[in-house]
């Protein structure tokens, strides 16, 4: 824990440079959401990203400058350049050329070591609140979010409480995808027959872009969802509204319909979910999605 804190402090200090860098770029009119995280994991990713760039720029920038300088100064037409055509070996130069990259990589290796362990997607986020469980299923071509404790589910709409760690368990109903909310941090593969763990948390309310980054067929560009971080009381209210609302129960049959290839025109909510559905998906008790053969019309989603 102390190591984590120290690392966080150290990273925050260097992170100031990154903030300046990203601010400069933001002024230039772009919205670098990866460098504008809204949660601790995203902040950790962004800090390591910026720190690594700063460390490497310290050697890459002078190298580029030296290349251009040497190439220019030693041009054949420069009468002032001293030619040393026999300068082909120097132990001292060799020592420096091997040790500068080596030292840089050792430093980065440390960053890699600490970062890989602390930001391992499977590691729970310490918090005074119990984590919220969300089961994620990537389908052709939509995202299904099941809230096992709340017994509700939604398609292409993820609602989570601010300040509460969220424990995602991720699988795929067909082909491989990646589950990614850039502003919350780390992405992970969704694979059929497997459960990937990912722990994320939102620090402030907001509506964030969610997507897949792995080609999954014709509807891949539409594998988009909105991740809404809302205050905990609003989250509870949303769950109650959903439970009381209209809609069918997400049972095995409804899931099979949903799993057919297609892009739903709007997000869908399910006021009730059959218990153990996610388990039946990951254990292939419900077989993986049928692919294009079952449905010839292609891109039209199932009517809801």
């Amino acid at each position: 824990m102390i190591g984590r804190l120290q690392a966080a402090l150290a990273l925050r200090r260097v992170g100031i440079a990154g903030r300046l860098l990203s601010c400069a770029l933001c002024l230039a009119g772009c919205n670098l959401i990866v460098l504008d995280p809204k949660g601790p994991i995203g902040a950790g990713n962004a800090t390591i990203l910026v720190d690594s760039v700063v460390v490497m720029l310290a050697i890459v920038a002078p190298t580029i400058v030296a290349t251009l300088a040497f190439a220019w100064w030693y041009r054949a037409s420069n009468p002032r350049a001293r030619r040393m055509t026999e300068f082909v070996y120097s132990g001292r130069v060799e020592l420096v050329t091997w040790s500068i990259p080596l030292l840089t990589i050792m430093l980065l290796g440390g960053v890699t070591w600490i970062g890989s362990h602390e930001l391992d997607p499977a590691v729970p986020i310490p918090s005074k609140y119990a984590p919220l469980d969300v089961q994620v299923v990537s389908l052709d071509w939509k995202w299904l979010f099941i809230y096992p404790e709340q017994r509700v589910a939604a398609v292409n709409r993820l609602v989570i409480p601010v300040g509460v760690p969220v424990r995602f368990t991720i699988t795929s109903g067909s082909v491989m995808n990646t589950f990614f909310i850039p502003q919350l941090g780390s992405m992970i593969y969704a694979m059929n027959g497997m459960e990937a763990k990912l722990n994320l948390m939102a620090d402030e309310p907001g509506s964030f872009l969610g997507l897949s980054t792995m080609i999954s067929g014709d509807g891949y560009p539409d594998m988009r969802f909105t991740a809404e971080a809302v205050p905990p009381d609003r989250f509870a209210a949303w769950v109650n509204e959903t439970r009381a609302g209209q809609g069918e129960t997400l049972n095995s049959q409804a899931y099979r319909d949903l799993a057919k290839q297609g892009v739903p025109p709007t997000s869908i909510v399910y006021p009730a979910v059959e218990p153990g559905l996610f388990h039946r998906i990951t254990t292939q008790a419900i077989p993986p999605g049928p692919g294009p053969e079952a449905q010839s019309s292609g891109k039209q989603g199932p009517e809801k």
């Binding site: 770029l25 772009c30 919205n31 670098l32 959401i33 990866v34 990713n45 962004a46 390591i48 990203l49 690594s52 760039v53 490497m56 890459v60 190298t63 290349t67 251009l68 190439a71 030693y74 041009r75 054949a76 055509t85 300068f87 082909v88 120097s90 130069v93 050329t97 500068i100 990259p101 990589i105 980065l108 890699t112 070591w113 890989s116 362990h117 391992d120 997607p121 499977a122 067909s174 082909v175 491989m176 990646t178 990614f180 941090g185 780390s186 992405m187 992970i188 593969y189 694979m191 059929n192 027959g193 763990k197 872009l209 997507l211 080609i215 067929g217 891949y220 560009p221 292939q284 993986p288």
Partner: protein, 668 residues
């Protein structure tokens, strides 16, 4: 009778591929008709198609790569323009077409542009640099080329007959399994690469043997030019990992054709195993491409700085270290699979370690320039441009090797920008540098410099415009391979990228113009002596183009930079080396084996893709029979009489004597 093949395979309803395919067909037929009308067919058959001369095979490889580069670049224009248009709209390419385009672009650029370009340059140069007459297995070399051409042909046939893979340049299951990709696209991909993969593996065997076993007398390993070392490392990697590619694709073929379950969702298949296997080949593949490219830059920088390569032994060590470590880093392509902190750390650190020998190489080029007398001919411009851009690509590469950073950058445009940032300046610029550097050796005249410089600047600026936007786009969360999008902030950057592609197009047009202009002005650009750049290694010690036997007498090597020493001695003593005693030379006979095998392999691949089983049988027997006929031939060699050798060599000696005399005039 025709398996799955019906008229429905021809896209009569899609104008773009149909018109493109028809146009290509018309051009090919026109060229064939022109060649036949001019009576060039016997010449082409004798001197090129059946040639086992490594120089001619090298030229054919580069020609194939150049044609495929144009085809792959058209794909690039389509992708960039689609993304420039597809904001809140479907653009002009539907997803099933767009997905084929990015898959074909990657497949073509890696397997049928970068690979044949570099293998072509190796073919042209390595035997000359080693001071020998040909590669170890000349006929096999011709077979390798034609099998590569078969693969390229099949990919291009998919444009018109059927479809190409939709799954990206690597066919990741389960998407590439029959359930999710029932069409023939993935099969086109698989069989093209299986057939060309055999060719590549044979090239690897051929060049490892050549570089390890065939040398001019006195050419010890540590006197070999650095390009030979990098070619050795590259071919060792080919021999090590291409069988892995073949086996992995064979497993996917079994899944698709015979209902196996290596990588399927069901019945115990494991898609993660495919990821591991394909990247065990895929990462070394990067170094198979970039190591010979580093070799080219080393030769060019040393020649144009007028200095031997700085830290030669360090360069050899760095090359071999990269060769070995490149086999131990594959998992960095899927840190986001959730392997855990320990595994990710190990592969992350291994990956960043590769940056050490690569950094050493950059510094050694830097110190080769230091104290030199640099001439900025186009090959040198490509090299300096490479160092500047590659430093950026290296930085972003090491960044992606840090797992927590990769967790937010994986499969984004940042990643795509990174690998274009290493492959275009790293490999393609090297190919262009090598092309301009060795063109006079292959054809006996230089390429026009003004057009060369214009092409360089367009590529350099065009690359920056086309690919630097990828980095901010990745940081804005844009994933790769999007057919359409609705995020307003991405659009300006995609427009810049599309403009960058147009600038690169100008660069390509300059290159085409350069070739045309140079051919027309060839008498003015003639390289009489065989040493147009004041070179240092043995390829410059013979005529341009070199005679079939390369060297009238095999050179005797007594130092590093052997040709430089010979040249300096000749200038000091004002006289050439004494004429050698000319003897008859035995050279390998031409063979149509490669062409005939590839002819059968093309039809066999096509038949396998379309499940035309009788044709598979017939063509397999045909290819095997060709091999048997070749194996039973009686005469494998022909003699070049000593008088002929003497006549050819004396002509070059006369040119060199004249050059030496010209050199002495100002001193008097």
């Amino acid at each position: 009778m025709l398996g799955k093949l019906t008229w429905a395979a021809i896209p009569f309803d899609q104008p773009i591929p149909l018109v493109a395919g028809a146009a290509v067909l018309v051009v090919i037929l026109a060229v064939l008709a022109y060649i036949t009308a001019k009576g060039w067919v016997p010449y082409l058959w004798r001197e090129w198609i059946t040639s086992v001369d490594h120089k001619h095979i090298g030229v054919m490889y580069v020609f194939l790569a150049a044609i495929m580069l144009l085809r792959g670049f058209i794909d690039a224009i389509m992708m960039r323009s689609q993304q420039a248009l597809a904001y809140h709209s479907q653009g002009y390419l539907p997803p099933e077409h767009f997905n084929q385009i990015f898959s074909a672009h990657g497949t073509l650029m890696i397997f049928f542009v970068a690979m044949p370009f570099l293998i072509g340059l190796m073919n042209l140069v390595v035997p000359l640099q080693l001071g020998v007459r040909d590669v170890a297995f000349p006929t096999l070399n011709n077979v390798s080329f034609w099998l590569t051409a078969t693969g390229a042909l099949l990919v291009n046939v998919s444009l018109v007959v059927g479809e190409f893979s939709h799954t990206g340049w690597l066919p990741f299951p389960p998407l590439a399994e029959t359930t999710y990709s029932p069409g023939v696209g993935v099969d086109y991909y698989l069989w093209s690469l299986q057939i060309s993969g055999v060719g590549t593996l044979l090239t690897g065997v051929n060049f490892v043997t050549t570089i390890l076993k065939l040398h001019a007398p006195g050419m010890t390993y540590l006197r070999m030019p650095i390009f030979c070392w990098t070619a050795l490392a590259s071919n060792l990697l080919i021999v090590a990992v291409f069988p892995v590619l073949t086996a992995t694709l064979a497993m996917l073929i079994l899944d698709r054709y015979l209902g196996f379950h290596f990588f399927t969702n069901e019945a115990g298949g494991n898609q993660m195993m495919f990821m591991n296997l394909i990247w065990i080949w895929g990462h070394p593949e990067v170094y198979i491409l970039v190591l010979p490219a580093f070799g080219i830059y080393s030769e060019v920088v040393s020649t144009f700085a007028g200095k031997p390569l700085f830290g030669y032994r360090s360069m050899v060590a760095a090359t071999m270290v990269i060769c070995i470590i490149s086999l131990m880093v594959w998992l960095h392509h899927f840190f986001t699979m959730g392997a855990g902190g320990d595994v990710n750390t190990a592969f992350g650190i291994m990956t960043s370690i590769i940056a050490v020998p690569t950094g050493v190489k950059i510094y050694n080029w830097l110190f080769t320039m230091y104290g030199g007398e640099i001439r900025f001919a186009p090959p040198m411009m490509w090299s300096v441009g490479f160092i500047v851009l590659f430093a950026v690509g290296g930085l972003t590469g090491v960044l992606l090797a840090v797992p927590p950073a990769d967790f937010v950058l994986h499969n984004s445009l940042f990643l795509v920008a990174h690998f274009h940032n290493v492959i275009i300046p790293g490999v393609l610029f090297a190919a262009f540098a090598g092309y301009e550097y060795w063109f006079p050796k292959a054809f006996g005249f230089r390429l026009d410099e003004r057009f060369g410089k214009a092409a360089f600047w367009c590529w350099f600026v065009g690359f920056i415009l086309a690919w630097m936007p990828g980095y901010p786009l990745g940081l804005m969360g844009m994933p790769r391979r999007l057919q359409h999008y609705d995020v307003a902030e991405w659009r300006p950057w995609l427009l810049v990228a599309a403009f960058g592609v147009l600038v690169i197009l100008a660069g390509i047009l300059f290159q085409v113009a350069q070739l045309v202009v140079s051919i027309r002005r060839r008498e003015a650009l003639r390289d009489e002596v065989g040493d147009p750049w004041n070179g240092r290694s043995l390829e410059w010690s013979t005529a341009s183009p070199p005679p079939a036997f390369n060297f009238a007498a095999l050179p005797r090597i007594e130092s590093d930079d052997p040709y430089w020493q010979i040249k300096q001695r000749a200038i000091e003593q004002q006289v050439l080396r004494p004429e050698p005693t000319y003897k008859d030379i035995e050279m390998p006979r031409n063979s149509p084996t490669g062409f005939v095998c590839a002819f059968f392999a093309s039809f066999m691949g096509f038949a396998l893709i379309w499940h035309i089983w009788w044709l598979v049988g017939v063509t397999f027997v045909g290819a095997y029979a060709t091999f048997v006929v070749f194996a039973w031939r009686d005469r494998a060699e022909y003699h070049i009489p000593a008088e002929e050798v003497a006549r050819i060599d004396r002509a070059n000696r006369a040119a060199r004597r004249a050059a030496l005399a010209r050199l002495q005039q100002p001193a008097q």
